[in-house]
């Protein structure tokens, strides 16, 4: 799973897709995930990192991960 190369993200959660002109805001966790994706970290590594850092059950994270991927795909932000 990879973000499109031309997608611009900021540390404050602003996302811009220059191909479509669409812009988005992300909350803190989505911003963190996008940053890690940009660093080419694998989904498994990112999930392990999040489970270590946040107070969340694996099942909850898995469900929310799938939902985030669906959002990214829906907004045409994934390759």
């Amino acid at each position: 799973m990879k973000l499109k190369k031309n997608i611009a993200t900021s540390e404050t959660g602003f996302i811009f897709n220059p191909a479509t002109g669409d812009s988005f805001t992300a909350n803190a966790l989505a911003t963190e995930i996008l940053q890690l994706l940009k660093q080419d970290q694998s989904p498994a590594a990112i999930k392990t990192h999040l489970l270590n850092r946040y107070d969340v059950e694996p099942n909850q994270l898995e469900k929310d991960w799938d939902d985030l991927v669906a959002q990214l795909r829906d907004h045409q932000l994934l390759d």
Binding site: T25, Y54, Q60, Q71
Partner: protein, 469 residues
Amino acid sequence: MKQRYERPLIKKLSAGPLNKFGARTEAQPVPDIDGAPVKDLLRAFGSPLFVLSEKQLRRNYQQAVRAFRTRYPRVQLAWSYKTNYLNAVCRVFHQEGAWAEVVSGFEYEKALLNGVPGPQIIFNGPGKSRAELQRACALDSVIHLDHFDELYELLDLAAGLPRRPRVAVRVNLDAGVYPQWDRFGFNLENGQAWNAIGRIVGSGRLELVGLHCHLGTYLLTTKPYGVAAQKLADLAWSCRTQLNTPIQYLDLGGGFPSTNTLKGAYLPGTDTAPGIDEFAEVIADTLQRAGFRPDELPLLILEAGRLLVDDAGYLLGTVLATKRLADGRRATILDFGVNVLFTSFWYDHKISPAGDFSQHTEDTVLYGPLCMNIDVLRDSVNLPLLNRGDQVVVHKVGAYNMTQWMQFITLRPAVVLLDEQGRPHRIRQAETLDYLQQLEEVPAHLGPHPPASSPQARGSQPSATATPG
């Protein structure tokens, strides 16, 4: 220590006019009701849970009485039982001085069991049986006549009674309200009401003591009450001058709104619903100018219901699940449905999270747990990012829910009254399967009942067996 988790969210920014109410969500966290923590209440009594604030019930009553008595010397409130006839609620209002306004035989008996003297019970409604009329006559309650069949029934009944039953005539009239409620009572403009009054007085068997008018429900303008008060006063004046029958009281009914937001309303109810002082001003001003001498002003009776109880009631519940719909919208499933929160058909209820949350919010549909497509609590509401297990508070649910709720797919939850010190008292237990099946009978040829210890015979909802901690 691990950091607090909030599920990841991406929101598309769209250009367009700004929201007239600003960018902030309406939902502020509500961690407690009258100082009682929501999580403790749900832990002790199960989820979902209705909670009523005794402090607010009394405050509402006193405020309504003050609004009228500071403007008119003779005022009596009659608590509308159908709005919420849980005994604890009724007794709070009766302690404050309210009479009872009932619309069925069982409500009448409830009022008696709550200690209301017969003469302080107003018996309304179009469906009184002969036995119920007899009972009301025996206890000297006032019967508000709804139609000629009832009038003739009562005339027949009164022939054998030692004392004339006290009656009032329910009048429907044109006060500029559309649709006009003409299904209850006798119409004024076509002469029906005057005809009924003539028959009552002419019979000599009934004592005409009052005139009653109930314009409608959730009226968002005060003017019709002025029109109705004037028309009732004129009718009372005619009774006195033409029939030599002074009218002891005028009953302007209820229909006063709470501050809930009606579905489809452009502005929130808090901005559009007149306060009780505004209604009192119109009604009292009209009656004061109606021509009665100060010593013969009729008693003004008001059948307040929703106004007194709606904002004293809360429904606490828990998020069962969240999901995403086919069109990308977020959906949140709560553990209470439209069978419990009946008024979600009428209002866009305000719903708050019980816990803290970040500034990020999302639009979501709120569904109940029923396997029915109609089970929609809010079509669209902006809320923080809720997760399974999060707790929510629904506001202003005190009126009509705890009477119109129904057992349907899920059982009805417990109800708790917070006393004036914020201490919880369970005033109705959560239903169980045993309770539900008490009235059922199975014909012998369909086999014996399962043993009491079988799973089918036991309650199935965790909340049904929860006990206070």
